[in-house]
Symmetry: C2
Subunit: 449 residues, 2 copies
Amino acid sequence: MRYLAKEVIRTAGENTAGGEVEVSGWVHRIRELGGVSFVVLRDRSGVLQIVLSEDLAAAGKLTPESVIRVRGVPALNEKAPGGAELRAVSLEVISRAAPDLPYQVNGDISRTGLETILDNRILSLRNPKIRAIFTVQASIIEAFSAYLRGRDFTEIKTSKIVGSGTEGGTELFEVDYFDRKVYLAQSPQFYKEVMVASGLERVFEAAPAYRAEKHDTPRHLNEYVSLDVEMGFIESEKDLIELEKGLLAHIFDHVGRKNAEELALWNAAVPDPASLAGAPTVPYEEALKIANDEAAAAKKGGSPSAGRIFDINPEAERLICAWAGREHGIELVFVNEFPRRYRPFYTYPLNSGEGGASSLTMSFDALFRGLEITTGGRRQHDYNAFLETLPKFGLKPGDFTGYLSLLKYGCPPHGGFAVGCERLTQKILGLSNVKEASLFPRDRKRVEP
Amino acid sequence: MRYLAKEVIRTAGENTAGGEVEVSGWVHRIRELGGVSFVVLRDRSGVLQIVLSEDLAAAGKLTPESVIRVRGVPALNEKAPGGAELRAVSLEVISRAAPDLPYQVNGDISRTGLETILDNRILSLRNPKIRAIFTVQASIIEAFSAYLRGRDFTEIKTSKIVGSGTEGGTELFEVDYFDRKVYLAQSPQFYKEVMVASGLERVFEAAPAYRAEKHDTPRHLNEYVSLDVEMGFIESEKDLIELEKGLLAHIFDHVGRKNAEELALWNAAVPDPASLAGAPTVPYEEALKIANDEAAAAKKGGSPSAGRIFDINPEAERLICAWAGREHGIELVFVNEFPRRYRPFYTYPLNSGEGGASSLTMSFDALFRGLEITTGGRRQHDYNAFLETLPKFGLKPGDFTGYLSLLKYGCPPHGGFAVGCERLTQKILGLSNVKEASLFPRDRKRVEP
């Protein structure tokens, strides 16, 4: 039976009878010292020091990244990682790695540029610190799903191939679909709403979404994992903000408990889940004022300023989060009541009497550690109001027959939000670029591996 | 506070003080009887009879599918669904459904053709029996993920946009990706293998997969949800079959417990989880013989026969499952040791000395209730053997640089499988067409809604 590295370390102290165990994994590092070889073996549980005699080492001719199977005797050694080692009795090379390794898996990634890491993705994912990003990401998705299932939400799987774009047709990737053109879905927005109105009422999905945006920034991916939520019978976006606070608190709690090792590798910490209750909700206009006040204070303090801030741009996101960290003890802010011009046409108005571009909406963004991680809001559920809104956005009812039949035949007040999974991962770990948080990121230049 | 229908039914007997509660939901059915209106209200928890006085009914002018809010007094009534009803005190119409409903939501779907159901998908999903399909599907995905997480598998999210097809370039949907052509992924096969070799060792993913197959059959979807599993350090496909047996047993157990009501709507039952251990594994050649023997016996019994069966075609799948049901008490069969010509180039040979088209492979399919629901196998992990195999399939090493760098630098023996989520849903519920098990199915003609 195969032992994992961490099992050897955990039980080495009990091995008073000198029994042998078997481990398997990758050769992470090789160091020779006075005829003896010290091999660090890497498996899914962690790393383990293997001590090879001169004979075994000579026979094995190990290369970094080779996959090996070792039988040996576990023993305590306070100088070894984890405080134990395996003294090898036999060694088998299962898969010999070629010696021309194009990427140093066990290197210090802070000295490696992002392009090099992504160009060598197949090998760079073996680096324990890089791999840790995706262990944390898996925990985020697990906690996201568990929290929502516990509140009567149903997981859905909706099509990513759509006949037309719900947001109005821009920034879509076109697909050759037999004899016609279709598009990759920008979001499951319409389908989430259909499923709320189906009577499921509360749904979630963790699935890819596509944006054919040409710009290449540390904030953008052309394909990302959208953690989508939608629910019926809400009053306003404030119900959604409360839901997201509880959801994020659960995710932070889960990641904090389950991924302490991974967080330590990145010198990162999740916010105290209890602090989420104190995250402020700030109306758009007030958020803009906070950003400008913060910028003015920074300028006074000698920092360079980009001048007056007119919308919640990346600089404003950073300033507002810094303010919240200082004033509320957590770098998480919900900005709500966005003016209509900044939100999709299906957003519900704050004051139903008004419809102008500067009128306000029941919408919100969540900003976390300086980055927008969520957009959400209540949606229009009234058929006639929806019909009246379309022309104001230059849209034709004929392009929204799906929406119209959704709303025409009984639709409850509803709303939802989407959390960018890579952005949340990035901000939990303190990564400098969102691409680091995508296993196989897609940008304008990169579609491989 | 809003009560759910099932909460009213559960607590009606305790309501001796005649207290009022509030419910919200859709008007499922309206029946008038001697001045009183009986409205069946539908919400996410089920249905509830509402009794409306003549005045309330006249003021409400209810139409089917309208969304309403009702305050009333819960009371026992053994003639009402669930044995209780709500005697309305006030009624509010939240969203009035237009009276020209194009699809009768509360109708008997066995009298409605599949095309009608799918053409009216936005409304047909409101039918409780249809909605139940997707409640069961959500449970399948939940149980799939939970079982694997409990065995140290990590969830991954891989790109669905690929530079080239891993299966050799046929049946791919082409995407306009900025200034180049890319494709929708047929499976996460290569990425799963990369993640096994990354050191995660055990990974899973529940995500869309794409096949540009032109045929339109009750077995096929052009976009489906693939429940993918991959693990390292296996000996043969038999390790994978054992894993899948445990996985399916867990899924059946979970669905059986959680979805008793939904199963009852379809007059369906999951197999006894304990019976999974008895599911036979049959080598390909033997499976073919069983199919032909079964066909011959049926012919003798007077059934028409399509003649000799030369491969595991849909007829053979049905015959082999019927045989297993009779002989082993469960209509689940694992067919292994497929000849090389039927399997992808990366499949591991059964006898490493042989490489001809008729030699056997460490591969398997799972057939359940007459339908292939899984394909899997051990993969080639040896760099040199992989290089030698490519030309036999007419493939060029230059098109597989990703695979080659995966295998060249240390890759453990590994394998995996994929369960078709819609097919498993279909067979659990006894649906006649796999499209019924896809929320928004995509076929050659259908890309909307």
